[in-house]
C-alpha cells in the first residue's frame, strides 16, 4: 500500500492547488499478475534461479495524470512482488513538463516522453525514448529530462532537443546526454521524418522514416537508422579452452562501428473491424544466429560441469551472466512480426494474436490476448509462448510461457 499512499498524497496535493479542478486530474490503477513457466530444458536454466526468468510476480501501479498551472504531470507509484525476492516499491515521474511560447517560438522543458519512430514491433528512430517494445502490457513510458525548441508551420515541424543535460555518458544508454534534431514534413497522404543525434556513446546517428496511407484501409511505413558506433555485450569465455568458468563477471562490452537498422511494415484494416499488422526489421546491433550458437555451446558446456563435481553455485552463477544476451531490444538481427486483432466500433471485446519470428534460427514467439473495456475499467488477459526450432534463441530462453492478466480501473 506504500505506492497507493504515495499516489493518494500526490492526488490530494494536486487537488489542493487552487487552480486545479477535478477534471484536470485522473487516476489509473493497475494490478498485473503474471505466471511464468520455467523452461527447464534450456541450457540457461541453471542461471535462471539467479534471475527474474521463470518467476511468478504481481505488479500494482497507480498512475496520476494532472495539469497544474499549465504544467503537465504524470506520476507512477508501483509495487512489484516476485517469487524469492523482497517486494519492491518505486515511485517515479513519467512526465513533468512545461510547454510555452517565447518571442513567437515554442519551447518545452522538464521531463517528457519523446517517441519518434513509426514502427510498432520495433522503433529504430526512438533514439531518446528507448523502451522494451515487447512488454506484454503497455503502461505509460518514463520520459527523459530535456530542453527543447520547436517550430511549426501548417505541414512541417523542427525540433531541437537537449536531452539528459549534464549526464554525459550514463550507466544506461537511455540516460545519456545528447543533442538531437528532428524534422517532420507532411506531404499529402505521406509523413516524412528525419532525425540526427550526437552522443558520446553512439557519436553520430541519423535516420529517416516514412508513413503513408495509399488506400483507405492500408497504411505503409518504414524507417532507416545509421549509427556510427554501437556497443554489444559478449561473454569473454566463448572460445576459450579449459574449464569455462569465471570467478568474476565474464561479460565484456565491445564497441563496433557502422550499424544500419531498417524496418518496413503495414497495417491493413477492414470494414469488419479486423486489423492486420505486418513488420519486418533488421537490427545490426543485435546478435546473429552464429553468436547465439556460440553462447549456447558455452552455457551447455557449463551445464555439463554439474555432473563433474563442480559446485552448482559456480555453474549457475556463470550461466546467469550469459542471460544478459537476452537484454537486447531484439534477440536476433532479423525479425518478422504479424499481428491480427479485431475491434468493432463500440465493441467491448478486443481479441488479438501475434507471431514474432526470427527466420535466421527458426525462433517463434506467439502471443494471444483478449481485452475487455468497460466504462471505468479494462481487463486484459493473455498467454505468451516462446518456442520454435530447437536451438533457436527463443527456444533457449529459460522461460517457456507467460500467462498474464491486467486489471485496470480509471477515475
Amino acid at each position: 500500500m506504500k505506492a497507493g499512499t504515495a499516489i493518494a498524497t500526490l492526488c490530494a496535493a494536486c487537488l489542493s492547488v487552487s487552480q486545479v479542478d477535478a477534471s484536470d486530474v485522473s487516476v489509473k490503477a493497475w494490478a498485473i499478475p503474471e505466471y511464468h513457466t520455467l523452461n527447464s530444458a534450456s541450457p540457461f536454466a541453471p542461471g535462471a534461479a539467479q534471475s527474474r526468468f521463470g518467476k511468478n510476480r504481481t505488479r500494482e501501479e497507480f498512475e496520476l495524470r494532472a495539469r497544474v498551472w499549465d504544467v503537465n504531470l504524470v506520476a507512477t507509484a508501483a509495487t512489484t512482488a516476485m517469487e524469492q525476492y523482497k517486494p519492491e516499491y518505486t515511485t517515479f515521474v513519467n512526465e513533468l513538463n512545461y510547454d510555452f511560447s517565447l518571442a513567437g517560438e515554442r519551447f518545452s522543458l522538464g521531463k517528457k516522453i519523446v517517441s519518434w519512430d513509426v514502427g510498432f514491433g520495433y522503433r529504430p528512430l526512438d533514439l531518446l525514448q528507448q523502451e522494451n517494445r515487447r512488454s506484454i502490457v503497455t503502461t505509460t513510458l518514463e520520459g527523459i529530462p530535456y530542453l527543447a525548441w520547436e517550430t511549426f508551420s501548417g505541414d512541417s515541424a523542427w525540433m531541437l532537443i537537449y536531452a539528459n543535460p549534464g549526464q554525459g555518458r550514463a550507466g544506461v544508454a537511455k540516460n545519456d546526454e545528447s543533442v538531437a534534431l528532428k524534422y517532420y514534413l507532411r506531404d499529402g497522404t505521406t509523413d516524412w521524418h528525419a532525425v540526427a543525434r550526437l552522443s558520446e556513446r553512439h557519436h553520430f546517428e541519423t535516420g529517416a522514416a516514412i508513413s503513408t496511407v495509399p488506400l483507405e484501409s492500408l497504411e505503409v511505413h518504414g524507417s532507416l537508422l545509421y549509427q556510427h558506433r554501437f556497443e554489444q555485450q559478449y561473454n569473454s569465455l566463448i572460445g576459450t579452452a579449459g574449464v569455462p568458468l569465471s570467478s568474476g563477471d565474464p561479460m565484456r562490452s565491445q564497441t563496433r562501428e557502422h550499424a544500419v537498422t531498417a524496418l518496413a511494415g503495414f497495417t491493413l484494416t477492414g470494414e469488419a473491424g479486423f486489423s492486420l499488422l505486418g513488420e519486418a526489421w533488421y537490427d545490426a546491433t543485435a546478435y546473429s544466429a552464429a553468436e547465439w550458437r556460440d553462447v549456447k555451446e558455452l552455457v551447455s558446456r557449463q551445464a555439463g560441469l554439474l555432473s563433474q563435481g563442480i559446485p552448482p553455485a559456480a555453474v549457475s552463477g556463470n550461466s546467469a551472466y550469459s542471460l544478459h544476451y537476452f537484454d537486447q531490444p531484439n534477440v536476433l538481427k532479423e525479425n518478422l512480426l504479424l499481428r491480427l486483432s479485431h475491434r468493432h466500433e463500440g465493441e467491448n471485446w478486443e481479441p488479438a494474436v501475434d507471431l514474432l519470428c526470427t527466420p535466421a534460427d527458426g525462433g517463434l514467439v506467439t502471443t494471444a490476448s483478449l481485452a475487455y473495456s468497460g466504462n471505468h475499467f479494462r481487463v486484459d488477459g493473455g498467454v505468451r509462448q516462446y518456442g520454435g526450432a530447437g536451438g533457436s534463441a527463443y527456444r533457449l530462453l529459460p522461460e517457456e510461457r507467460i500467462i498474464y492478466f491486467a486489471l485496470q480501473g480509471f477515475w
Binding site: K112, S115, V118, D191, E216, T269
Partner: protein, 244 residues
C-alpha cells in the same frame, strides 16, 4: 429539330445546376444547426447504449476549423491524453502511453468506443454533394430527401440519405452507408433553442449492423474559437499548450 434538342439539353443542364445549387444551399443551412462559425470549440458527451442499457459514457472536446480540420481531445478518465487529428482525408492519433503521433487510416478511425468521424465531423457541405430525391414525411415533419454521395475519400460514410425539414432545413434523419454500400447507421437529430438560436442539441445514432446498439451524441457547449494553424500540425499533438 436540332434546335429543339439543344434547347432540351440546355434546359436539363440548367435544371441540374439549379438543383445542385439547391442541395449546396440546403446543406449549408443544415450544417448551420451544428456549426455556427467557421472555427469552433465543441464539448461533446457520448453515451453508448446496448439493448437500451448505458454501456459507456465518454467526453470529448472538439476543435473545428475550415479546411476540414478537426482536433479531438479525449477527456474521460480512461482516455485522458488521447488525441485524434483530422485534416481533410488524413488522420493521426496519439496515445498518452507513448506520446507519438501516428498516422491512422480512414478505416481505423471507425474503431474504438465511438466513431471519431461521428464526433468530429459536423459539416456535410464540404464533404458531400448530390440531388434532391423528393419530398417525404418523416415523423410528421415534411422533409426534403437529399441523396448525397461523398466527394472526399476519407469520410466515414460514402453515401448519406439525408432528410431535412422543408420549412427550415433543420436535419431530421440520416441514413448512413459505408463503402460497401451497406446501411451502417441511422441518425436522428434533436433540435432545440439554445441562447436564442435553433441548434442540434443531440444526435441519436442506431447501429444497423450491430442491432440493439445506439450512440447518443450530445453537444454540451459550443463556442466560436479559432486556434492557430500550427495546432493542426500532427507533431503539435505532443504539446500541451492548448488550454481547454
Amino acid at each position: 429539330m436540332c434546335n429543339f434538342i439543344v434547347t432540351c439539353f440546355v434546359v436539363c443542364i440548367t435544371a441540374l445546376q439549379a438543383q445542385a445549387g439547391d442541395v449546396a444551399r440546403y446543406l449549408k443551412k443544415a450544417d448551420s444547426y451544428r456549426l455556427e462559425a467557421d472555427a469552433m470549440q465543441v464539448e461533446t458527451d457520448v453515451k453508448l447504449f446496448k439493448s437500451g442499457v448505458l454501456d459507456k459514457e465518454r467526453l470529448y472536446t472538439v476543435y473545428l476549423k475550415n479546411g476540414r480540420r478537426s482536433l479531438v481531445l479525449m477527456q474521460s478518465a480512461g482516455e485522458k491524453g488521447q488525441k485524434v487529428l483530422m485534416i481533410g482525408d488524413d488522420f493521426w492519433q496519439i496515445m498518452p502511453q507513448s506520446q507519438r503521433p501516428i498516422r491512422i487510416t480512414p478505416m481505423q478511425k471507425l474503431l474504438g468506443d465511438a466513431s471519431v468521424g461521428d464526433i468530429a465531423t459536423m459539416n456535410w457541405s464540404e464533404d458531400y454533394d448530390g440531388s434532391v430525391a423528393g419530398e417525404i414525411d418523416v415523423d410528421g415533419v415534411l422533409c426534403f430527401h437529399l441523396s448525397l454521395t461523398a466527394k472526399n475519400k476519407g469520410v466515414s460514410y460514402k453515401r448519406i440519405e439525408l432528410f431535412i425539414a422543408k420549412n427550415d432545413s433543420r436535419p431530421v434523419k440520416a441514413d448512413l452507408y459505408v463503402a460497401s454500400d451497406k446501411l451502417a447507421k441511422q441518425a436522428r437529430f434533436s433540435v432545440a433553442s439554445v441562447k436564442g438560436r435553433r441548434q442540434v442539441t443531440a444526435m441519436a445514432i442506431k447501429d444497423q449492423i450491430q442491432t440493439g446498439r445506439e450512440t447518443v451524441i450530445s453537444y454540451l457547449t459550443r463556442k466560436a474559437r479559432s486556434v492557430p494553424d500550427e495546432y493542426y500540425n500532427p507533431m503539435f499533438l505532443t504539446r500541451n499548450d492548448l488550454k481547454e
